[in-house]
Symmetry: C2
Subunit: 133 residues, 2 copies
DNA sequence: TTGCGTGCAAAGGTTTTGCATGGCA
DNA sequence: TGCCATGCAAAACCTTTGCACGCAA
């Protein structure tokens, strides 16, 4: 296990996450947001921190053919995001969790009828959320 | 409607598609494949042709967070790929079509229970296909 | 002859890497 | 003091664009 230090940069990025728990964002979005608050954090540093947060399961990373850059999204601490797939709104970019019993049905159907072993990580359904449709 | 010419480059790319109807590939893959056959086609030209093929519905384009580049996949001429979502094997990259009655169930469930209007274009389920699992 | 298609070079955008310096514990 | 974290510059990639020339019809 590696030691980690608490730094100004990390705190700033975590503050961003705090304010954007519901939204998807790119590294650039974080950079811009912090700059608007006169908080200078190098874009490289943001990439490095977001990647670490992803590795430790605090963020998930996703990307679709229309996206020009990778998007990150906060993951609820106790919502096990390996257990369900996600829905992404094409308009606002928000991620929704398909946490319901139907999830199991999908998984079983794919296995039985299509011999396909679903992996939730990376699986994204695109569409429009209630507010955007 | 725009005129189109039949050219050596287009033919070469179509020949690649012919041989790879089942696989996902990047522009670079096509380029490499043709070079190995001593067929010189500029990478730019490949991008331009693949994009046109996509616009005319012959190819679909997809990308996940793990992909470093956009992938293209041949679409069956009469299989309407707007009607169903796709499954992608994480190992071999192949795309499978979820063409069955269950597709409607998924769509309806998302609408009714989650107020989410599914759009098949861009929606990709990731996992392992029969051969790779 | 017309104008679509192609090659080449260059630019654009995102993400990564190397290296020296900064700063937490 | 040790070593993780950061900033900066540069590079690595993928993809797009501009422009002149090639070539199908």
């Amino acid at each position: 296990m590696q030691k980690t230090y608490r730094t100004r940069c990390k705190d700033s990025i975590m503050a961003y996450l705090e304010d954007n728990q519901e939204n998807s964002f790119s590294a650039y979005d974080v950079h811009e947001y912090l700059q608007n608050q006169d908080i200078q954090v190098n874009l490289t540093t943001i990439y490095r921190n977001l990647d670490k947060l992803m590795e430790s399961g605090i963020l998930m990373k996703h990307k679709t053919a229309e996206d020009e850059s990778c998007k990150y999204q906060y993951v609820k601490p106790h919502g096990n995001c390996q257990d369900h797939i996600h829905m992404k709104c094409r308009k606002c970019g928000k991620i929704f969790h398909l946490e319901c019993s139907f999830m199991k049905e999908i998984s079983m159907h794919l296995q039985k009828e299509h011999k396909f072993t679903l992996e939730c990580s990376g699986s994204i359904l695109v569409g429009l959320c209630e507010q955007c449709s």
